[in-house]
Amino acid sequence: MSDYTPQELMVAVASREIHDGDLVFVGMRLPILAYAVARNAHAPSARGLFEVGLMRDQPASGFLGTMGDPPNVSGALWATRMSNTMALMAQGHVDLGFIGGAEVDRYGNLNTSYVGDPASPKVKLPGSGGGADIAILSRRWVTLMSHERRRLVERVSFVTSPGHGDGTPGWRSRMGLLGGGPVAIITTLCTLRFPGGGGEAHVASVHPGHTVDEVIAETGWPLQISDDVSETSAPTDEELTSIRRFDPNGFWTRS
């Protein structure tokens, strides 16, 4: 079963970011699977919070195309208003959030709004959704994206969801942002991490089958490589079994 897709690897890596006992603002797509994997492995008491207005302590039994699908409500611990889930996050009760990104820069700022001038954009992206809220209010967060030079850029042209801002230490607290900001960017090629207290992303581990040179080539800024850069551990059989149980047709991980 050692064969796996890049998405399956990303899910496995993301699931390892979830600590037992965490309240996780789950979001959509791969993170829904990451929560399921973690909950069934090393984080049995992790809870999931969904901005649609749900709290859960176990993954949905059925496949989820969206967080609002009926199986996500069965067994839910709370079905409420979105603003109540945001209230918990604004109080610092959300330990970890996941955000999807279209564009990220070296300081972890995300753009999901506009490529080019907002007045007449080259590309109009869907927008923040809950992304900006998670980026600002959750204690720490992680983003997942395809590793392409056009996506990992020196500076994003529009900051939808602030990471570590201009990269100077303490930027977030100076700006009055409550949460700690991004801790990792999980891409199709590697895992990037940020120093505590903010700053610039560096390569922490490269995914099996890929090289540091390849990562550098696909990144839009001169990339810092940590001295102890390692190879990302591949998904375990247990992780893959769990992933394939919750994404039986590969809707998220094999398309």
Partner: protein, 292 residues
């Protein structure tokens, strides 16, 4: 009341319309399609995230402004009509007032409580503050200007003819949208008697004094899910993504699924309702409202 009559009467051109307030579930597609058939123009659409419906109304040229946190296709990604309108002004230019999910909720609570704005700690450090004039940063807080919909259009599981609506499952910003709106139009899977709605007044979503229309329209939320009634039609969303990539295929899709369809009943005849219907029932344990 029929959906055609409800939209004719209560959603005139230029209206500010809140829809899709429960996010991915209970999206009032039938109401939106009727707005398209009636050639509504100059609408301002208000919502949190919109899963395809706003994209369809934008592509049909009904929309002047979008005030929302996210517009696209949740399981498929980008909203192609939204992109064309914003990038190429096709079929027309639209104005975008960006929000986050939390800030659009607060904008509606501000209107519900009749105050000019509400403060929040979210959006600090976000460029959304630069593109939305209704978000003002001051004294370390963001002040979210009230958004007052003329009408909130909501799909629910059941309602009575007097406008008492029962909805369940995750409800997103449905409550504040209804309270903030001048009036509420409801579509429902089941039209029930007051004996059902009043048996559980805590599940009634809105003050009936704001409800101006109740339309009995089973399947009105397709392809979005309805707890206890319909699963989400993922394939339909994928098909819409494919058939909205260019103006030509979108126009064909619109003719095929909206303009060429007289009403929701005819639309439902073309859906594999049986494969989408939820068949396994999970009734809630009753609450005892006994009083003597």
């Amino acid at each position: 009341m029929s959906m055609a009559e409800a939209i004719e009467r209560h959603v005139p051109d230029g209206s500010t319309v809140a829809m899709g307030c429960a996010l991915e579930a209970l999206i009032p597609f039938a109401a939106g399609h009727e707005m398209i058939r009636q050639r509504r123009r100059e609408l301002e659409l208000v919502g949190p995230i919109s899963d395809a419906l706003f994209d369809q109304l934008i592509g049909a040229g009904c929309v002047r402004r979008v005030t929302a946190a996210w517009v696209g296709n949740v399981s498929e990604g980008l909203g192609h009509s939204y992109r064309r309108a914003a990038e190429e002004r096709v079929p027309r230019a639209i104005e975008v007032h960006d929000h986050s999910n939390f800030s659009i909720s607060l904008a509606l609570w501000a209107a519900a409580w009749n105050v000019p704005s509400l403060p929040t700690r979210t959006l600090l450090g976000s460029d959304i503050l630069r593109t939305n004039p209704g978000l003002v940063s001051q004294d370390g807080l963001v002040h979210v200007t009230a958004v007052r919909p003329d009408v909130a259009v909501v799909h629910v599981q059941r309602a009575d003819e007097h406008g008492r609506a029962h909805a369940w499952g995750p409800l997103g910003i449905t409550e504040e949208a209804g309270l903030a709106a001048d009036r509420i139009v409801i579509s429902c899977e089941e039209l029930v008697g007051a004996d059902v709605t009043l048996s559980d007044p805590n599940r009634i979503q809105f003050p009936e004094t704001k409800v101006v229309a109740v339309v009995h329209e089973p399947g009105a939320a397709h392809p979005s899910p309805v707890q206890g009634y319909f699963k989400r039609d993922h394939a339909f969303y994928r098909q819409y993504a494919d058939r909205s990539r260019t103006v030509d295929v979108f126009d064909a899709w619109l003719e095929d699924w909206v303009l060429g369809v007289p009403d929701r009943a005819s639309y439902m005849k073309r859906i594999d309702v049986d494969s989408l219907r939820i068949k396994q029932h999970r009734p809630s344990v009753p609450a005892d409202f006994g009083d003597e």
